[in-house]
């Protein structure tokens, strides 16, 4: 069935495949196994079939966390992408101080998430937070993230966008920089408006990069945890709980590793569902390109 050449190929790629099996497939299989067991510190794991999944799917907080995750992730990904695209386009022109502006924009990526969240938490503290006092003076209302879950989820989204914008910005800026100027000039000579140049030329060139950025951000954002846990631990009344904090509670507060594994797999499934759409788009595009 296999000729010598194929055996040689398999042999040559076997080190990397072994690594992949050890580092990715192995732990994944263990997580699946764990999700079918009752497991905690100081006790032998007991096989319980799908009980962890039954408990998970019958827990209203899990569904609330899933809904919150879905909403927040979509807000984060699309708002961040739109903002990054606008900034990347602006940065693609020449202006004085461009280097400084670029540095400022990517600076949040160098700030640790813990510091970033603590900083925002105090800036928006209801009694003494500078931003909230400014909002109170100029708008007549505060961002009441402690009491109001919609405000809480909004702040979580803003925080996440602020922290991760540089990632998307760098990808899109790099892609926009590669769009041939002569093509744009040719379009303009043909009478295309700036909007048409953007839509018909720039977007076509950067579409693969946009898809890659979206896919990665969807996957990373689905694992949203630090912003929520450090800000309000999913409160008040667990109304801003997301899947990341739900999993954290199961593993590190309740030491219920079977439930945590089941939650982890549910999160993976959600990320996979979203990513598969974009992966399919990328695949189709690659096929049509070539």
């Amino acid at each position: 069935m296999f000729d010598d050449r194929k055996w040689l190929s398999l042999f040559l790629i076997s080190p990397v495949n072994t690594l992949l099996i050890l580092l990715i497939a192995g732990p994944s299989i263990y997580i699946v196994w764990l999700s079918l067991h009752q497991s905690t510190f100081g006790a032998d794991s007991v096989f319980i079939g799908f009980d962890n999944y039954v408990r998970l799917f019958s827990d209203s907080i899990f569904w609330r966390a899933t809904f919150n995750t879905f909403i927040v992730v979509n807000v984060i990904v699309y708002a961040e992408l739109a903002l990054a695209l606008m900034l990347a386009l602006a940065l693609n022109t020449n202006f004085w101080g461009k280097g400084l502006v670029f540095s400022i924009l990517i600076a949040p990526y160098a700030v640790s998430q813990v510091s970033a969240v603590v900083m925002w938490r105090y800036l928006l503290e209801p009694d003494i937070g500078m931003f909230n006092l400014l909002l109170q003076n100029f708008v007549g209302a505060q961002l009441n993230w402690i009491r109001n879950p919609v405000h809480g989820l909004s702040l979580i989204s803003i925080l996440s966008i602020w922290i991760h914008l540089p990632f998307t910005l760098i990808i899109l800026y790099s892609a926009i920089s590669t769009v041939p100027l002569d093509l744009k000039d040719a379009a303009r000579v043909e009478g295309a408006s700036e909007w048409q140049v953007f839509r018909k030329v720039t977007m076509r060139f950067i579409a693969p990069a946009v898809l890659v950025a979206m896919m990665f951000r969807y996957i990373f954002a689905t694992r949203l945890f630090a912003e929520v846990w450090l800000l309000n631990e999913g409160g008040p009344a667990r109304l801003t709980e997301v899947l990341g904090t739900y999993l954290f509670r199961a593993a590190f507060r309740y030491h219920d590793f079977g439930a945590a594994a089941a939650t982890g797999l549910a999160m993976q499934l959600l990320a996979l569902l979203v990513a598969s759409f974009y992966l399919y788009k990328l695949y189709k595009r690659m096929q049509s390109d070539g």
Binding site: T40, F41, G42, A43, E125, P126, D127, I128, I146, R147, N232, E233, G235, P236, A237, R238, R249, F252, R253, Y254, H255
Partner: protein
């Protein structure tokens, strides 16, 4: 040239080899190591200046290097339990708080009865029986109590004087004073009358205890979440929150927030462990340094049989992971740390002493201004709830429901009925 280089490399190689041998021989002859995992406060009270570094003295006498691994409360337990569940561990002594005790301890930790028989702890009988009982599984002892954290009422006397309010002597006076001490300064700064550490059952049970010696969960696992005592306690907390006596941020409070509010004089009183006296009066960090006194939480005038409120006390014990390679050394460290003399020295460093006799020592009387109040509180205090496997789950349910009541999404009764119904299946069978 090549010959010269070779000679240089050869000489270098010899120097490196001899150096490595010397270093490894020195290491072999050098100090053994003992790794302790706990909260920063455990390290501070064992190595402090005021009472002296008794951990360091022990380490020097035993030619041992102590490695302290300190984390926040939740992380201490997660790491300790994880290490104790592995095939082997580098952790030799771990601190664990009473609410984290669970039936799996015999699988993770070393029973200490044999150690206690062969190398006894001096005046062991003085250690509180209740604490030892909580650390006993199947008739065997798995930990030695080291520290108690008993709740106190911390009062900023300057704010009370400013508003002409006397230090409260009953719980009713406390609530009334808290309302009078809630105001906004001329510069716009809000001052809140009272702070509570958190929204957990352990904290809110303080109100039920002070008002009517109530309980959320008894030591024999009788759940009283929707008892009249708990409903009364939570209703009072909800009222205080709605009136602004408790700050809006109470919905998101962590220990650090209580310390910050008191240090910035944004709150007049707080119910928090006695040990916080040092944080609140820290001259380097606190605007309120020297103004805050710590007293026993007063009881309701209707509550009979007590001089002060039978408030919560929580305690930490030292345990030895079953898989530690240094069990003998770990035991020696433990028995040294809880000796009568070192209990006093730790108390002077800010520890809550688990030996009642420590309060009679002149050093404690001189250097711990709240010692007599702490002793009075401790004499009637008891743990807020027993440890069990699902304690964290029950705590989260309580917090979620109480927050619903604070937000007005549920009445207090509805919230506590829900706590009762959701928590009952999570309790161990009696």
């Amino acid at each position: 040239m090549r010959e010269k280089s070779r000679n240089i490399f050869s000489a270098l190689a010899k120097v490196v080899t001899v150096g490595a041998l010397v270093v490894s021989m020195a290491t072999i002859g050098n100090a053994q190591e003992l790794t302790i995992i706990g909260h920063k406060v455990h390290e501070r009270v064992s190595t402090g200046k005021a009472g002296g570094d008794f951990a360091g003295e022990w380490a020097a006498a035993k030619n041992t290097k102590i490695n302290w691994l300190t984390f926040n409360v939740q992380a201490v337990h997660e790491r300790l339990f994880r290490e104790a569940s592995l095939g082997s561990t580098t952790i030799d002594v771990g601190f664990a708080a009473n609410r984290y005790y669970k039936p799996q301890f015999p699988e993770m930790f070393q029973a200490l009865d044999d150690y206690l028989a062969s190398a006894p702890i001096k005046d062991f009988d003085e250690l509180p029986k209740g604490m030892l009982g909580a650390l006993t599984y199947g008739g065997k002892l798995y930990g030695i109590p080291f520290r108690h954290a008993t709740a106190a009422l911390h009062v900023n006397t300057a704010i009370l004087k400013e508003k002409g309010v006397a230090v409260p002597k009953t719980f009713e006076e406390l609530l009334s004073a808290a309302r009078k001490l809630t105001f906004t300064r001329s510069n716009g700064t809000k001052v809140h009358g009272l702070l509570l550490d958190y929204r957990s059952p352990a904290i809110l049970t303080d109100f039920a205890r002070a008002m009517n010696n109530g309980d959320f969960l008894t030591p024999d696992f009788e759940l009283k979440a929707n008892s009249p005592d708990m409903i009364g306690a939570v209703e009072e907390v909800v009222k205080l929150f709605k009136e602004g006596v408790l700050p809006e941020a109470f919905l998101n409070f962590k220990t650090e927030d209580v310390i910050t509010y008191m240090q910035q004089e944004r709150a007049a009183m707080a119910i928090s462990p006695f040990g916080r006296y040092r944080n609140f009066n820290d001259a380097k960090k606190s605007k309120a340094a020297g103004k805050i006194i710590s007293i026993a939480v007063p009881k309701s005038e209707k509550l009979e049989g007590f001089n002060v409120a039978p408030i919560r006390t929580e305690f930490w014990a030292m345990l030895i992971p079953k898989n530690s390679d240094n069990k003998d050394l770990a035991w020696d460290y433990i028995r040294n740390s809880v000796s009568p003399e070192n209990t006093i020295r730790a108390a002077v460093n800010g520890n809550g002493p688990i030996r009642p006799s420590a309060y009679a020592d002149q050093r404690v009387k001189d250097l711990v201004p709240y010692a007599s109040d702490e002793q009075a509180a401790l004499s009637v205090a008891r743990p807020p709830l027993p440890g069990f496997t699902n304690s964290a789950r029950v705590e989260d349910i309580f917090i979620e429901e109480v927050e619903s009541a604070l937000l007005g999404l549920k009445t207090t009764r509805e919230a506590l009925d829900s706590v009762q119904a959701r928590s009952l299946p999570l309790l161990p069978s009696k």
